[in-house]
Symmetry: C2
Subunit: 448 residues, 2 copies
Amino acid sequence: MSAALRAYLPSWIVPVVPEGRVLTDSAIVVEGVRIRALVNRSQLEIDYPGIERIELPGHALMPGLINMHTHSALVLMRGLADDRPLMQWLHEYIWPAEKKVMGPDYVRFGSRLAMAEMLRGGTTCFNDNYFFPDVTAEAAVATGMRAFVGMPVIAFPTAWADTEDEYFRRGLAVHQRFVDHPLIGISFVPHAPYSVSDGAFRRIRTLSEELDITVHLHLLEAPGEIETSRTEYGMHPLDRLQSLELLGPRLLAVHMTQLQDADIARLAREGVHVIHCPDSNMKLASGICPVAALDRAGVNVSVGTDSAASNNNLDLLAEVRQAALLAKVASGDPEAVPAARALSMATIHGARALGMEHEIGSLEPGKQADFITIDLDCIETRPLHDVVSQLVYATPRCQVTNVWVRGRQLLKNRELITLDEAELRASSLPWQQKIHDAVRKLEVHHVE
Amino acid sequence: MSAALRAYLPSWIVPVVPEGRVLTDSAIVVEGVRIRALVNRSQLEIDYPGIERIELPGHALMPGLINMHTHSALVLMRGLADDRPLMQWLHEYIWPAEKKVMGPDYVRFGSRLAMAEMLRGGTTCFNDNYFFPDVTAEAAVATGMRAFVGMPVIAFPTAWADTEDEYFRRGLAVHQRFVDHPLIGISFVPHAPYSVSDGAFRRIRTLSEELDITVHLHLLEAPGEIETSRTEYGMHPLDRLQSLELLGPRLLAVHMTQLQDADIARLAREGVHVIHCPDSNMKLASGICPVAALDRAGVNVSVGTDSAASNNNLDLLAEVRQAALLAKVASGDPEAVPAARALSMATIHGARALGMEHEIGSLEPGKQADFITIDLDCIETRPLHDVVSQLVYATPRCQVTNVWVRGRQLLKNRELITLDEAELRASSLPWQQKIHDAVRKLEVHHVE
C-alpha cells in the first residue's frame, strides 16, 4: 500500500543541501509524509506518468524554517514592556504578569497564537522552552506542526513545579507521553547556569544520555553571567559545564554573546551547537554572538527568534537576515555569513542541532516533507537577480504562501488550515486585558 | 471656495508630535491637501456636522514615513552581487551594470518600481541621490509621491554629465524646473568628500545658500575615508568640510559610522543633520553610526534605507526597528532609542532635516495631509499592549493598508492607485535581463 504521489512544480527549488544550489525546471515528488525525489521537469512524466501536478509559477520552494529558540506562549506579552533594562523588564513586568496568568489555558492559547504566526512566516518546526510543555506539545499535535518541547528545570518554584524533584518528575512524564510522537521531540531545558544547581545539572547529564536527548540552555546571554559564576562556583560557566560533563554535542547553547577566542575553539572541539538570537540580543543590549568566527571555526550555528516578548516577532526569515547583517558588521567582513550560509542556519543547521539532520532541514529524497513556498512575483522581490539572496535579504514573510509539515498542508494561499485566524484574533483580547490588568494601565491619551 | 472636508476615524492616531502620544476615540479632519484638525470622536459631529466619515476600525493612523536616503532607481540591481567587499561590489558589478543601462528610461522605470515598493510600505516621501534627477522628479509627480531629488556632483564623467561645469548646469536646470512644485524638493548631492573637489564644494556652499537648499552627502561611511582625506587634503573630512564652510544645518550627512566623541559634540554644535542607514552599514560591514550618543547630544538623526542594491529592500518600518535595535546593542543600553524616538526618526526628524518640519512629519493642524493607516488586527500584531511599540517592533510593512500624500490617496486597501503593479512586475523582466547580461550569468543548476 503506497501513499498518493504528488509533484510540486515551482519556478525554483532551493534544496539547501548542497548549500547555494538553485534548481529550475524541476519538481519535488512527495509520497505521503516523505520526499520521494527531486526530478527534472522533463523527466517527471517519464518516471511518474499521470502523477498529480501542482504548478507554482513564480514561487520558490524550500525546506520549512526551523526556529531554534522561542518561548512560544510568551507571545501574549508582545510589546508589554519594551526599552527597559533586562532585570526591570523581568521583575516588574514579565514575571508579575506570568504569575497572574501562568497555567495550561495560557500556554495553550499562547502556543496556538505563536504557531499561527510562525506558520504564516514559513516556520515548520520550533524548539520551545517554557512551562507546561505537555500543553504546547498537545497544541502542536492538534495543529500538525513539528515542535521540540522542553522539560524545564529551574531552582525556584513556579506554577509548573515546586521542587527540583517535581520538575524532573513532571518533565519525564511529558517525555514518556510524547517520546514516540512523530511531530514531537523532547529536550531538557534547564533555565541557565545561574538558576540551576550542580545537582540538577548532574541529573540532566545522566538522563539526557540515557534518553538520548538534547539539553537546550540559555548560556552566556549577558555580561554579568561570568562574574556571577566566578563568585558562586569559583569558575567560568563553560568550565563549570565542562566539569559537569555537559559540554558536548548534546548541548544547544542559546545566545552566547560573551565569548572569547579560546571559548570558540573549545566549542568547536566539543561539538557544542550554538543557537543565535540576534534580534533579542540587540533589543536587550545583551551583546553580540561572534557568529562569523564560530562559523569559520566549524561550530554549528542555527537561529531562533527568542520570544515575542523580547523580539517582538516570530519572523525567522527576518531573523536570518539579521544574523547575516550582524555577523558582517560585527566582524568587519562583508563576506561573513553569505546568504546561502544564512539559509542553512535557518534550516539544516537547526535540524543538525536537534539530531534530526536525516529527517528535516533540507529537500532530499527520503526526508520528511516539511517545506514551504514563497511567492517571488511581487513588487518587493522584483527584479530577481539571485534567488537565495532574494529569499534572505529582500523577501518579507508575507510572501510565504503555502506550508506543509510531514506532507500535510497547514497554510494554503496564506490561509491557515488547522488554526482559526479570526478566533485567535478575537480570543487574544481577554488575554490582553488580563495581562494588562496584571501590570499596569496602557498609557493612552485623548485629545483635550 | 473650500475643499471638501473628510474625517478619518481609526482606532488609534499616532500624531508623532508630541512624541509617544496615542489618541483613541479621535478623528483626523482633512481639508483638501491639509490637515484641518484632530478632534475627539464625540466633538466631531458638533464641530463638523454631516462631515464625510471614513471609519477604520482596528487601524492605526500615523504620518507617512520619510525615507531620508536612497538611490531609488538602483532597486533594479537588488541582489545583483551580495556578500562582497564594497570595492569589488562597486567595480565588478554595480558600476559596469550602471554603465550599460544608465539613462532616462532606466531611471524612470527604477524610480517607479522603487516608489511602488515604498508606498506599499508606508513611505510618503523619499530623499533621493541619483543621476537624471529630473526623470525621478517627473515620475514622482506622475505618481503623486513627495520626493527630494538631488543635483549630483562627482569628479568623474557619467551618463548624466561629463564635466564639473556640466553637473552644475544640468543640476541647476532641474532646480529651476521643479523649484515651485509642491511635491518636489531639490538639494545638492555631492557624492562624497573623496570624490568631490574643493572647488566644487565651494560652489555648492555658495549656491546652497543662495537657493536656500540642503546638501545631501555620503560622509564617513567606511573606515578608509579618514585616512584618504588625511593623505589627499592633509586633514580629517570634518575639518575639510568646516574649512569649506559646509558644516552647518544645511548639511545632511549620510552614514557617519566613523565618529569619535569630539565629532559628536561638534555635529551637535554646528547643527548638522545625520541620516542613519543601519541595514546598508551592516550589510557592507561599514561600521556603526553611534545613534544613541548622537541622540543624547541633541543631533537630529533620521533614517534611510539606502538603495535596494545594498539593503536589499526599501522597507523604512524595518529600518527604523533596526535603528532602535542597533543603537541598543552598540551602546549597551536597552533604553537607548525607545520606540517613540525611533518613530520620530522615521517622520518628524526627517522633515526637520529637509527644512519641512512645518509641513510634514507629524499630524498637526495646518500641515500637509501625508499620512498612512496600518491594520493592527492581524495575527502578527496580537495581542496589543502598546501601540507605538507594536508599530516599531512588531508590525510588518504588509499591514500598511492606505497611504495619502497631500490629501490624495495613493494606496487603497494595499492596491496602488497611480502605479500599475502588474505592469511594473512585467516590465522589470527585460531590465533584469539587460542588467544580468551586463555582468554575469545567473548561477542556476539543473538536477542531473
